[in-house]
């Protein structure tokens, strides 16, 4: 049981304002030096291991995409289209942001990639429109958490495989909770906007003429959206590839159609992109080295034994599970937790008569929230870095949104019908 000591070392270093990735890796190295006979260079091997995961390549692509869209006027024109439909509402841009997340949630498998793109694309525009930047960042990050819950999602598939339920059922089960999260988030964003006085951007609904004119001006942008979403939906490419192809399309739009782009913009966007990619990838990589130690020490097994010893009542069991997963989710990546813990907990789930599909959605929603929680919530880190927002501002500005997410978790946990309504 050396792992609690290592986690403690890490938390102390966090408090001293050490770079997060160095703090995590310092804790990792302390395990190799003080607690284990395993050769030390394996620590570096585990650091590198996470960077070789192809799905993470989507992160720089979507950051680059969002940055280029902001630089070239593509984002501005897209929002002008959105404004036609939501401009009359208080907090219209915040609602648009969440709506776009939900839409992307249906095609992209990665909440990191989605939040990266939307942050770069929408946060600057929201700030120009008078929104607080930290609030805009919090809206984007919260919205991105819907991604893994709305099908298709990698987490839904992984859970289906380890818990032996049908992938189709998991996909159906994710729809209603995903929509519910979107609605609750929109309500919170609306209340905050109302209180802050983020007024509607337009007094009246647009005229037919204005609608046609705006749409006509924005056709390349709409084409881009169709290419990304349609491209993934209609058999053409993976989300990672979609990111790269979309970058090519934006470059074409910027250079050829709108002619607002220059080579300096591309160089600047590339620089911004690799800096943010490095900042967040190093934390992900160091955390995955830490996750290796937790695996080696069978930490998840020990926690699973603890959870499964509380089998008296299924509501108590679910509550305890949620608490432990929220804590664990702060430290290690969600899918790793799914794979290791679910098989160990499943017998108890069956014994308590909890529907395995419902249980899966509870876990996945819970782990999604882990992406936001400090210290190593990856979505929060990425969004704070991209929007240049302090973590403390992010947390205080987003409080009501996070409350909505938390409420979603409670509802999903204690109202099984939300998950099971569409599952036969």
């Amino acid at each position: 049981m050396s792992w609690p000591v290592i986690v403690l070392i890490m938390l102390v270093l966090f408090a001293l304002n050490m770079r997060l990735y160095i703090a995590v890796f310092a804790a990792v190295l302390s395990y190799f030096v003080f607690f284990s006979p395993v050769p030390h260079q394996i620590a570096v091997q585990r650091l590198i291991g996470a960077s070789q995961n192809m799905s993470l390549v989507a992160i720089p692509f979507f950051i680059l995409l969002g940055t280029l869209m902001d630089h070239t006027g593509v984002a501005r024109r897209l929002l002008r289209v959105a404004d036609l439909f939501v401009g009359k509402f208080t907090g219209g841009m915040a609602l648009t942001n969440i709506g776009l997340s939900t839409l992307l949630g249906g095609v992209s498998a990665s909440n990191l990639a989605d939040s990266a793109m939307l942050t770069r694309m929408l946060v600057p525009e929201m700030e120009r429109a008078g929104y607080n930047r930290a609030f805009a960042a919090a809206v984007t990050a919260s919205g991105a958490l819907i991604t893994p819950i709305i099908p298709p999602g990698i987490a839904l598939i992984i859970y289906a495989l380890v818990a032996d339920v049908s992938i189709g059922s998991m996909f159906m089960a994710g729809i209603l909770p995903g929509i519910m999260m979107a609605v609750l988030l929109m309500l919170s964003a609306y209340f905050v906007s109302k209180r802050r006085g983020y007024r509607p951007s337009r007094e009246q609904w647009p005229s037919a003429g204005e609608t046609v004119k705006t749409l006509a001006l924005a056709w390349p942008v709409l084409l881009l959206l169709v290419a990304i979403i349609g491209g993934i939906r209609m058999n053409v490419f993976t989300p990672t590839e979609a990111g790269a192809v979309a970058v090519a399309i934006v470059l074409a739009i910027g250079f050829v159609i709108y002619r607002e782009m220059r080579v300096e913009h591309v160089v600047h966007a590339l620089t911004e992109t690799f800096k943010s990619t490095s900042a967040v990838m190093l934390v992900i990589m160091a955390s995955s080295a830490l996750a290796w130690i937790l695996s080696l020490e069978q930490a998840a097994q020990q926690l699973a034994v603890m959870i499964t010893s509380f089998t008296a009542n299924k509501y108590v069991f679910l509550l305890l599970l949620n608490v432990i997963l929220l804590v664990l989710g702060m430290l290690i990546e969600g899918n790793a937790i799914l794979i290791v813990m679910v098989p160990l907990i499943m017998p108890t789930v069956h014994q308590l008569g909890i529907d395995p599909v419902h249980f899966g959605i509870v876990i996945i929603v819970n782990l999604a929230l882990g992406c936001l929680s400090p210290p190593v919530g990856t979505v929060m880190l990425l969004v704070c870095n991209l929007a240049k927002v302090k973590m403390s501002d992010f947390l205080s500005e987003g409080a009501l949104l996070f409350a909505a997410l938390f409420l979603s978790l409670i509802l999903v946990t204690y109202v099984p019908m939300l998950s099971l309504a569409f599952v036969n």
């Binding site: 049981m1 394996i42 091997q45 585990r46 990698i154 495989l161 049908s166 053409v236 490419f237």
Partner: protein, 312 residues
């Protein structure tokens, strides 16, 4: 958890970590539990196997490297993978090498393999189990495949292994390497049209929810090896080592029995779930893939013939 008993010569139990990419409950996991129980019983709890399914300790290459650095870890690998260390071994992963898995396992006992084994040892690899049957690899696709011509235009997922890529291409399909975890969504979107693997793995990945034709082309009898690092294993007392090898062999025999049983079981299950099972004449497939054996200049001369003579 603070010491490797055997490295320090202490009298604590010998702990060995067993790492594999497959998930809990799959045949690999079942065989490892069988081995673990067998070894613990026979050694009176002196030799303890700790199981790490689902790539918890890293990808196959990484765990192999951990073993070679001296860690007490054993991992599932195959000759397709070990050819990086000893190119000739790749031939045992060739298409339609033999009809009879038993003969294939005899090769692993032959002088030819003993020689290869020495070379692996020099590279730091210790073969712990050499009679593991991962399964016979078939094709699950969105279309029935009766003859190689039916493969034309199909995008088939393969592992990132040159021998399997060449075999699938030789049959006329387009090989599309990607991680197994990406296969389900890739089938959903039509990015790929099919996937090859042993039937238990195909069923375990639920790929039949998306592709409804199982063609029993059986192009590869996928034998596997469990390997550790020479650095760790050479530090064990001979008695311990013998006990590990003996029980490993018994676990290997169990894997062969299990593979046959599981194949029959999962074919039935797939049929129940609406999959059409196609049994093509494999003659034309064998012909189509023969040329693959000529594409490896790094092999010893006449390697294919040497192996065929061994197989007689």
């Amino acid at each position: 958890a603070f010491a490797l008993g055997s490295l320090t010569g202490a009298n604590a139990a010998t702990e060995i970590k067993i790492a594999y990419e497959n998930n809990p409950g799959e045949p690999v996991d079942q065989v490892m539990h069988y081995w673990k129980d067998l070894l613990e019983k026979r050694s009176n709890g002196e030799i303890v196997l700790q199981l790490y399914p689902s790539s918890q300790l890293g990808a196959k290459k990484d765990v192999t490297e951990q073993a070679m650095m001296g860690m007490n870890v054993v991992t599932l690998t195959d000759v397709g993978f070990l050819q990086d260390y000893e190119p000739d071994l790749g031939v045992l992963f060739g298409p339609y090498l033999t009809d009879d898995p038993k003969k294939l396992f005899d090769i692993y006992e032959s002088d030819w393999f003993k020689e290869k084994n020495e070379k692996l040892k020099e590279a730091g690899i210790h073969v712990v189990m050499n009679n593991y049957l991962y399964g016979v690899r078939h094709l699950l696709a969105k279309k029935p495949v009766e003859k190689p011509e039916d493969m034309k235009g199909l995008k088939i997922r393969t592992p990132n292994n040159i021998m399997q890529i060449k075999s699938i291409e030789a049959m006329g399909a387009t090989a599309t390497p990607m991680p197994l975890g990406d296969v389900y969504p890739a089938l959903t979107t039509g990015m790929i049209d099919g996937v090859e693997n042993p039937i238990s793995v195909l069923y375990g990945g639920k790929f039949h929810e998306q592709a409804k034709y199982l063609s029993l082309i059986g192009y590869l009898t996928n034998t596997s090896l469990w390997i550790g690092g020479e650095a760790f294993f050479s530090s064990l007392p001979q008695e311990t080592l013998d006990m590990i090898h003996e029980t490993a062999h018994e676990a290997g025999v169990y894997s062969q029995e299990l593979a046959a049983k599981e194949d029959a079981k999962f074919i039935e299950k797939m049929k129940e779930e609406g999959v059409t099972v196609v049994e093509p004449d494999i003659g034309p497939f064998r012909e189509a893939t023969r040329a693959v054996y000529d594409q490896f200049p790094e092999w010893s001369p006449n390697l294919y013939q040497t192996i065929q003579d061994q197989l007689k």
